[in-house]
C-alpha cells in the first residue's frame, strides 16, 4: 500500500464505538506510522455513539451521534470501508475476505464486531411491528412504524388513537427503549421476566423505587412476567397482542425486544478461534485470542470468562491492544461495570458490587419511598472500604463515590447518602489512581497532572488535555471539582469575581442589588464594590462590570437605559441603540415580531435604506438589518421608522432578539398550531428583556420544525395537543440543540413556563453565559431547572411570575423614548463641535448593487466612489 515498505498492515473488523476508540488511540500513539489500518464496518456510516441512540429520536440527525473527530477517517494511515462486512478470516494466509469477495492481507487482526440484539425464541417474534434496539437503522425503523401507526389511527375528525407499545426486557436498554417510545408519543409498558427492573445493576429495594419513578413517567411496568407469545392482529397481520405466562394479555401496536445482547462471534467461530462457554472469542488479559495475531476487543471478547456489554471496558481493551501493538505490556485492568441510566427525569446509577455479593459485605441503605429515592452503599465488614453502591431517584452521590471504589471512606458512610444539605458528607479526596472518567479511562492523578504539569487553568483545558468528560459527561462535576482544588493548591486563584471592582459573580450581584433595592451604579459599587490592588478607593468600574450592572438594573426595571447615570454604563451598542460595525458606523434593525411584516412596512424599510444609503440584508432572525448608519443619522432614521409603526429590535442588546417562526397552521398544510401568532405574542411579551447574553426564541407549527426552534434558547414546537418547549439551544461557535423541558402545554402553561425559565436565567446566569451553559452549571442541571419552573422546588415561582409581569407592564420602546427627549438625542452627535458633520474618513465602494466599506487597499488605490455624504438624500 505504501512505498516505504515499513508499514505493517492492521485490519480491524467492526466499525462500532470500540473500533473507533481503538483507531483513535492507535493514531494518537503511533507517531512513527508503524501501522496502516483498514477498518471494515458493516453499517453504511461512520462509527457513532450507540450509547446515545435514544437521542436520535430528538435530533433525527445521525451526524449528531458522530464519535470523536471525524478527521480521523481522513487520516492517510486509516481506511474506513463502510457497508463492507468481513465474511471470512484465513488465519494461515493471514487475510480477510470482505462481502465483495476482495481479499485483504494483515499482519495483525483486531476483532471488534460487538454484539447483536438477542431475539428470544418467543413465537411470533418475526411479526411486522416487532423491533430490536441496537442500531440507527433499528431506531429509524421503529420511529417510522410508530408514525405510520399513529397516522392510521387518526380519524378524519382529528381524533388520535394512541399507539400502544410494549418493551420486552426491563434492563438498561429496555428502559431506554420505553423512554424512546414515550418520546415518539406512544404508550409504553415494560415487560420484565425478573423480579424487578435493571436486575443486573440494582437490588430489589432499588428496583421498587425505580418502578415508581418509571410509572411517574407514564410508563407501565409488569415485573415477573414471562411473554409466551406475540400474536398477530387479525386484519392487518401486524403484531396485535402479547400473551403472558400468567394467562394475561396486552394489546399492542408495536413491540421492542430488549432482552440482552449476544456477542457476534460467527467469524471467530468459523476461523476456529477458541469460543467462550456463553459465546465470544476467548482472550487473555492482553486481549489476545487463541491465535497470537488475532485480538478481540469490546463485546465480542470473552475476557475473564465473560463478555461485557458495556462500552467502558471495551475502551479499556482497545487501549490494551494499542499498547501491545506498539510494543507495550499493558493488561486489562478489570471491568468497570458502573452504569448510569440516561433517561430524562429518572436518576439511576450503580457501581461495584451493587448486590452485596462479597462475603460479609455490609449494606447501608437510605430510602424515602414517598420521594421515590433509594440509596445504598455496600461496604466491607469493617464498614470502611467501599465495595459498591446503588442510587435510584437521586444519583448525586454517584459521581464522587464511584471513583472511591475499593478505597476507605472517611467518616460515617451514612452521611454520603443523606439528601444534599441534610448531613454534610465529609469532603472526598480521591486517590490519584481513582478512575474519574470511565469512558476515557482518566484517573484523578491524570487530571491533577493536567493542572500541575500541563498548565491547564480551567475545566475546558483539562477536558481538551485529558479527554476526561468528553464522552458521556457524567463525570464533569467531579472533573471540575478536582481541577479547581488543584488550581487552588497550585496557588492559582479560581476566582469567580466579576472584575477588579466586584468580588461577586453576576448572579450574586443580581441578588444583592435586588435584595438591597439599589438603583444606581454609585450606590452599587459603594455598597458591594471592592478596592482593587494599587488603588485607594473602589474606583468607577470598568468595561466588564459596568455593562453587567447596566443589564442588572435594566432587568430589574429602572427606566430607560440612557436615563441618568445608567448612560455611563452602556456599551456603545446600547448607548447608541444600534450595532457598531467595523468602520465605526452602526446597523439598524427594527423589530418584526415573529418575522411578520406588512407590505407597507417593507416599503418603509426599503425607502429608509435607500434614502440613507444603507446596505440591506435579511438576518437569520427573520428581520432586516440596515448597515452603514452614522451616529448622527440614527435619530433621523428612527424617526421615520417609529412614525411608520416600527420599534427598536434590540439587536444591539444582550436581550431578547427575535422569535423566529414558521408560517404555521394558518397557511401551512401540515401545521397543527398557529406558530406565527404564538411567536408574535412571545416576542411582544419578552421584547426589551435584558439578560446575561442575547436570547433567541423560535416557534414551529409542527414537528417538521421549519423554524429551527431547537437551535434557540427557547424553542417551542407545536403538537396536536399543544406545545412542547425545549430550552438551551444555540447556534454560533458551539452549536447546541435545545433539550425538552415540558410537553403538550396549553398556551397559558407555555407562556408561564417560558416566563419562569427566562427570569430564572436572567437572575442566576453568569456574565455572557448563554442558556445552554447556564443549564449545565445551574444547580441540578436541566432537571433542577425543571423542578424550579414546573414544581416550584425553590418556592420562587410566584416571584419569577411577578418579575416578568412587571417587565411586561413596564415595557416602552427605547427608540421612541430617545426621540422624545432632547437630552438623550444630544448623544447622537458625530462631533461635539460639529454635531451634523459626517466622519470624513468613511469610504465606500459599490458591490452587487449596494455599498460596502472600502478596504485598505481600495483606499490606497483611490477607487473609492463614495465618501460618507454623497449618497444621502434624506
Amino acid at each position: 500500500m505504501d512505498s516505504s515498505g515499513e508499514s505493517r498492515r492492521l485490519v480491524v473488523v467492526g466499525g462500532g464505538m470500540v473500533a473507533q476508540r481503538f483507531v483513535e488511540a492507535l493514531r494518537a500513539r503511533d507517531t512513527a506510522g508503524t501501522w496502516q489500518v483498514d477498518v471494515f464496518a458493516e453499517e453504511p456510516r461512520k462509527p457513532y455513539d450507540r450509547v446515545a441512540l435514544t437521542k436520535y429520536f430528538e435530533v433525527r440527525d445521525p451526524e449528531e451521534l458522530t464519535l470523536g473527530d471525524p478527521a480521523l477517517w481522513d487520516d492517510p494511515a486509516v481506511t474506513l470501508h463502510r457497508d463492507c462486512a468481513v465474511t471470512a478470516i484465513d488465519r494461515e494466509a493471514r487475510t480477510v475476505t470482505d462481502r465483495l469477495g476482495r481479499v485483504h492481507p494483515y499482519d495483525e487482526l483486531v476483532l471488534a464486531t460487538g454484539s447483536n440484539a438477542a431475539m428470544p425464541p418467543i413465537p411470533g417474534n418475526d411479526l411486522p411491528g416487532v423491533f430490536v434496539y441496537r442500531t440507527i437503522d433499528d431506531v429509524a425503523a421503529l420511529r417510522g412504524w410508530v408514525e405510520q401507526k399513529r397516522e392510521a389511527g387518526t380519524t378524519a375528525g382529528g381524533f388520535v388513537k394512541p399507539v400502544r407499545g410494549a418493551v420486552i426486557g426491563g434492563g438498561l436498554l429496555g428502559l431506554e427503549a420505553a423512554g424512546a417510545l414515550k418520546a415518539l408519543g406512544a404508550e409504553a409498558t415494560v415487560i420484565e421476566f425478573g423480579t424487578h427492573l435493571m436486575g443486573v445493576q440494582i437490588d430489589l429495594g432499588g428496583g421498587h423505587a425505580l418502578k415508581r419513578l418509571i410509572n411517574d413517567k407514564g410508563i407501565g411496568v409488569r415485573p415477573q412476567t414471562a411473554t409466551s407469545a406475540m400474536k398477530p392482529h387479525k386484519r392487518t397481520g401486524h403484531v396485535g397482542h402479547l400473551e403472558f405466562g400468567d394467562g394475561g394479555r396486552l394489546d399492542v401496536d408495536v413491540v421492542v425486544v430488549a432482552t440482552g445482547v449476544r456477542p457476534r462471534d460467527e467469524l471467530a467461530r468459523t476461523a476456529g478461534l477458541e469460543i467462550g462457554e456463553r459465546g465470544g472469542a476467548v482472550v487473555d488479559l492482553a486481549c489476545r485470542t487463541s491465535d497470537e495475531h488475532v485480538h478481540a476487543i469490546g463485546e465480542v471478547a470473552c475476557i475473564e470468562g465473560r463478555c461485557i456489554g458495556l462500552v467502558a471496558p471495551g475502551y479499556a481493551m482497545a487501549e490494551v491492544v494499542v499498547d501491545r501493538l506498539l510494543g507495550g505490556e499493558a493488561t486489562f485492568p478489570g471491568a468497570d461495570t458502573a452504569t448510569k441510566l440516561k433517561l430524562s427525569g429518572v436518576d439511576v446509577a450503580s457501581f461495584g458490587d451493587a448486590h452485596g455479593r462479597t462475603e460479609d459485605a455490609m449494606e447501608v441503605v437510605w430510602a424515602d419511598p414517598a420521594a421515590g429515592v433509594y440509596k445504598k452503599l455496600v461496604l466491607s465488614d469493617d464498614a470502611r472500604t467501599l465495595l459498591g453502591g446503588v442510587f435510584v431517584g437521586d444519583a448525586a452521590p454517584y459521581a464522587s463515590l464511584r471513583p472511591m471504589l475499593g478505597s476507605q471512606l472517611p467518616g460515617d458512610p451514612g452521611a454520603f447518602l443523606l439528601p444534599e444539605g441534610g448531613g454534610g458528607a465529609p469532603a472526598l479526596e480521591l486517590p490519584d489512581d481513582a478512575n474519574v472518567c470511565s469512558c476515557n479511562n482518566v484517573s484523578a492523578g491524570t487530571i491533577r497532572a493536567a493542572v500541575t504539569e500541563h498548565e491547564c487553568t480551567d475545566v475546558a483545558g483539562v477536558k481538551a488535555c485529558t479527554r476526561a468528560g468528553t464522552t458521556c459527561g457524567s463525570c464533569l462535576p467531579l472533573v471540575k471539582k478536582i481541577t479547581n482544588t488543584e488550581l487552588q493548591r497550585a496557588g492559582i486563584t479560581v476566582s469567580n469575581a466579576l472584575c477588579e471592582h466586584f468580588e461577586l459573580t453576576r448572579a450574586q450581584l443580581f441578588d444583592a442589588v435586588r435584595v438591597a433595592d439599589l438603583h444606581t451604579f454609585t450606590e452599587i459599587i459603594g455598597r458591594f464594590g471592592r478596592v482593587p490592588e494599587g488603588a485607594d478607593g473602589p474606583g468607577r468600574g470598568c468595561d466588564i462590570c459596568k455593562p453587567v450592572v447596566a443589564s442588572i438594573l435594566a432587568s430589574l426595571g429602572n427606566g430607560h437605559i440612557l436615563a441618568g447615570e445608567q448612560a455611563t454604563l452602556q456599551d456603545t451598542n446600547d448607548h447608541m441603540l444600534a450595532n457598531l460595525q467595523k468602520d465605526g458606523t452602526y446597523s439598524v434593525v427594527p423589530r418584526m415580531p415573529g418575522g411578520e411584516v406588512t407590505p407597507e412596512g417593507l416599503i418603509v424599510v426599503g425607502e429608509v435604506a435607500r434614502d440613507f444609503g444603507l446596505y440591506t440584508k435579511i438576518t437569520g432572525g427573520q428581520r432586516i438589518d440596515m448597515f452603514g448608519a452614522r451616529v448622527e443619522q440614527l435619530p433621523d432614521i428612527w424617526r421615520r421608522l417609529v412614525d411608520a409603526g416600527f420599534e427598536s429590535g434590540h439587536a444591539y442588546g444582550k436581550s431578547l432578539r427575535t422569535v423566529k417562526s414558521c408560517v404555521g397552521s394558518t397557511w401551512c398544510r401540515y401545521g397543527v398550531q398557529d406558530s406565527v401568532g404564538m411567536a408574535v405574542d412571545l416576542e411582544l411579551r419578552y421584547r426589551g428583556l435584558r439578560s446575561p447574553h442575547k436570547l433567541k426564541l423560535g416557534v414551529s407549527g409542527c414537528a417538521r420544525e421549519c423554524a429551527e426552534a431547537r437551535g434557540k434558547d427557547v424553542g417551542v414546537i407545536a403538537t396536536e395537543k399543544g406545545w412542547n418547549v425545549y430550552v438551551g439551544g444555540n447556534g454560533g461557535f458551539t452549536p447546541r440543540h435545545a433539550q425538552l423541558l415540558a410537553e403538550d402545554l396549553t398556551d397559558e402553561e407555555l407562556v408561564r413556563t417560558i416566563d419562569r425559565f427566562l427570569m430564572y436565567y436572567v437572575r442566576t446566569a453568569d456574565r455572557l453565559q448563554r442558556t445552554a451553559t447556564w443549564i449545565q452549571d445551574v444547580e441540578g442541571g436541566l432537571e433542577g431547572v425543571r423542578k424550579v419552573i414546573l414544581e416550584d422546588s425553590l418556592g420562587i415561582a410566584a416571584d419569577l411570575d411577578e418579575a416578568m409581569a412587571r417587565h411586561v407592564a413596564n415595557y416602552e420602546d427605547e427608540w421612541r423614548a430617545v426621540l422624545d427627549d432632547p437630552e438623550k438625542l444630544r448623544r447622537f452627535s458625530s462631533f461635539v463641535n460639529a454635531p451634523r458633520t459626517a466622519d470624513p474618513t468613511l469610504a465606500y465602494v459599490p458591490e452587487r448593487g449596494q455599498r460596502r466599506p472600502a478596504t485598505d487597499e481600495e483606499r490606497a488605490s483611490g477607487v473609492i466612489i463614495a465618501g460618507p455624504k454623497l449618497e444621502v438624500r434624506a
Binding site: G541, C545, A567, T841
Partner: protein
Amino acid sequence: MSVTQEQPAAAAPQTDDLSWERVCLLSDLFPERGSAALLGDTQVALFRLPDDVVVATQQLDPFSGANVMSRGIVGTRAGVPTVAAPVYKQVYSLVTGECLDTAGYSPRPGREPRLVKYPVEVRDGVVHVAVQ
C-alpha cells in the same frame, strides 16, 4: 465653577508651539463618557472623568482603524482612569495613553498600541484642546 488642568502626555506635541482651540463647553460633555471633536482634520476623543477632569486622545482606534475611541466605556484599572475601545475592547490608560490590555489582538499595520494624548485645559467652563 471651573476646573483647570493640564497633563503631561506621552506622545503629545511639544508645549512650545501649541495652538489652543476652543472646542465646547464642559457641560456639552457627558460625565464619564467620551465625545468626538473635529479640530481641523484631526479627530480627537474627549473624555469627561467623574471629577470633571477632561482628557483628550486620538479618536482613531489603533486596533480597528475606525474613528471610535470616544464611544468606549470609561472606567478605572487599579485606580487609573481608562477607556476600553468599543470595537475589540482593548483597555488604555487615560493618564499615559498606553494600552494596558490588548485583549489578544494586534494593532493594524503601521499602528502603535497606544493613544496619542493632547493637552486639555478647561477655562471658565470652556474646553480647550491643543493640537499642532
